[in-house]
């Protein structure tokens, strides 16, 4: 019991630190990659190659004055960013960073995940469905027109893509026969699921990008019409928490993509240890995120909703049934 508590606390500290660092450098990564794609230099003044830019941004946000509309709902206004952040972080508990054997430190066997439950990925779906509240309540509590409309749009978008997000993973469940992420990665030892289940992977990535409200689906924060969407009235660290939640959600979507479709910790020829393969794949998926943002224009809101309902939903159902037929047909 004590051992579980101590080990979990250490893991929690590592994940907290790792995800915060990932968040900080993902913002820099995004700015630099976008700049290069647009033939600019990007941030390069603070520290060597601009590597201290995230620290400078963090310190600035920390010392910002607290301010917001006087008519805001004070409790919900503060609770919303905490909820968003907690949901984003907690999703990482189910991600196995490496495997298949446990890490042995001083004679203690330590698993590469915080928890590996029977419901596995379904727990991630439960968390995404709670994530809607953070964003909606931020828009509602601010009592500002931009915030409210941004929050409303954002939550309607999130619930619309949640179905496709869930259904696009059903082919993986069928093939692996489990929701446990460890089982799913182990089932990909020879073939990554991205190859046989390519359509499902593409649907998952589109739904995942829309679910995290990122370009080209960043309608809730369409600067030209809604300023900053649901977090228009947030500043300083309160804004930073939403910012963190958004980027950590990107990391989560990339991690789940890695585990579900890209073979998790498995790499060809066994050149690198598992965690490095995992990291490489997550960074590769994150690069796609940034690449799309630098390349594609934003969709119109009605087109966005129709893409989710009229294209992704039927396609993911079709992919699911096709996988079922093929899996049963080749089964002996």
């Amino acid at each position: 019991m004590t051992e579980v508590v101590v080990v979990t606390l250490i893991k929690t500290a590592i994940i907290l630190f790792a995800l915060l660092t990932a968040f900080a450098y993902l913002t820099l990564f995004e700015r630099v990659v976008q700049a290069r794609l647009q033939a600019r230099l990007g941030p390069n003044r603070v520290g060597p190659f601009g590597l201290l830019q995230p620290a400078a941004d963090g310190v600035k946000l920390l010392f910002k004055e607290t301010s917001g509309p006087a008519t805001r709902d004070r409790f919900l206004y503060l609770a919303a960013p905490v909820l968003s952040l907690a949901v984003a972080f907690t999703a990482f508990t189910i991600v196995p960073v490496s495997g298949p054997t446990d890490l042995v430190v001083l004679g203690h066997r330590i698993s590469w995940y915080v928890t590996n439950t029977n419901v596995g990925v379904l727990f991630y779906f439960a968390l995404t469905s709670l994530g809607v509240y953070g964003i909606f309540l931020a828009g509602y509590a601010s009592n500002s027109k931009y915030s409210l409309l941004g929050g409303l749009r954002s939550s309607a978008q999130m619930i619309s893509y949640e179905m496709s997000l869930g259904l696009s993973l059903v082919p993986v469940f069928i093939v692996a026969g489990s929701f446990r992420l460890v089982d799913i990665v182990n089932a990909q030892r020879t073939w990554w699921f991205a190859l046989p289940l390519l359509p499902a992977f593409i649907i998952y990535m589109i739904a995942g990008i829309a679910e995290t409200n990122r370009a080209p689906f960043d309608l809730p924060e369409a600067d030209t019409e809604l300023v900053a969407g649901y977090h228009t009235e947030y500043g300083g660290m309160k804004f930073a928490l939403f910012f963190m939640a958004e980027y950590i959600n990107m990391v989560i979507v990339s991690s789940i993509a890695t585990v579900m479709f890209l073979g998790g910790w498995w790499g060809p020829f066994g050149i690198l240890p598992g965690p490095w393969w995992f990291l490489l794949k997550v960074v590769a998926v994150l690069f796609v995120y940034v690449w799309l943002r630098a390349t594609l224009p934003r969709l119109r809101y009605d087109r966005l909703m129709q893409l989710g309902w009229k294209s992704l939903l039927p396609l993911s159902l079709a992919m699911m049934m096709a996988t079922a037929v093929v899996v049963v047909a080749v089964q002996r």
Partner: protein, 175 residues
């Protein structure tokens, strides 16, 4: 397992107490959005209770469907349908009277049942060990798609009816 058992009792007491508080909140808060959020908290508590009973699939299903979908609709409507959402609800005393009467009757029933300990039952095939061995979701899936196949297919018809109803409701509002 002794430590875990004690932790579970403490956790149960904590969750049950917060569910009672949030249930009072559902009727006692003066602003509708807080009533709805209290109900969300209550449903999350219910999900944890499912988990403490080892109903892992119900735990996630409860969160995904009730807090993640049904209550989102509630919150949408409460927050946005009424432009003057800040009007405080008027509460005539009669509701409290009914509430107290039913609450006392229900509590008395519970007390009678619990004090007589007339809870018959013997272990069936679905012991916690058997479910863990076969997998929690797998056990539910096998039951749903063999024994309870007909209700499942009827549920899809029910969902179709719900879709028709939703469209009808929305159309009427427009015209």
């Amino acid at each position: 397992m002794g430590g875990l058992g004690a932790a579970m009792v403490i956790l149960f007491a904590f969750v049950a107490a917060s569910m009672l508080v949030s249930a009072v909140g559902v009727v006692a808060f003066r602003r509708p959005i807080y009533n709805a959020l209290a109900l969300v908290a209550n449903m999350l508590g219910l999900a944890v209770l499912f988990l403490l009973l080892n109903a892992q699939f119900l735990f996630v299903a409860q969160i995904i469907v009730y807090t993640g979908a049904v209550m989102v609709l509630f919150v949408f409507i409460i927050a946005l349908l009424n432009p003057r959402a800040d009007i405080r609800l008027q509460r005539p005393g009669a509701e409290w009277g009914f509430g107290i009467v039913f609450g006392v009757v229900f509590a008395a029933l519970l007390l009678i049942i619990l004090s007589t300990r007339a809870l018959p039952g013997k272990p069936g095939p679905y012991t916690p060990e058997a479910i863990d061995a076969a997998g929690n979701v797998q056990t539910i899936g096998r039951a749903l798609y063999t024994t309870f196949l007909f209700p499942v297919e009827v549920a899809s018809v029910l969902l179709l009816v719900a879709a028709v109803g939703a469209v009808y409701l929305a159309r009427r509002r427009i015209h």
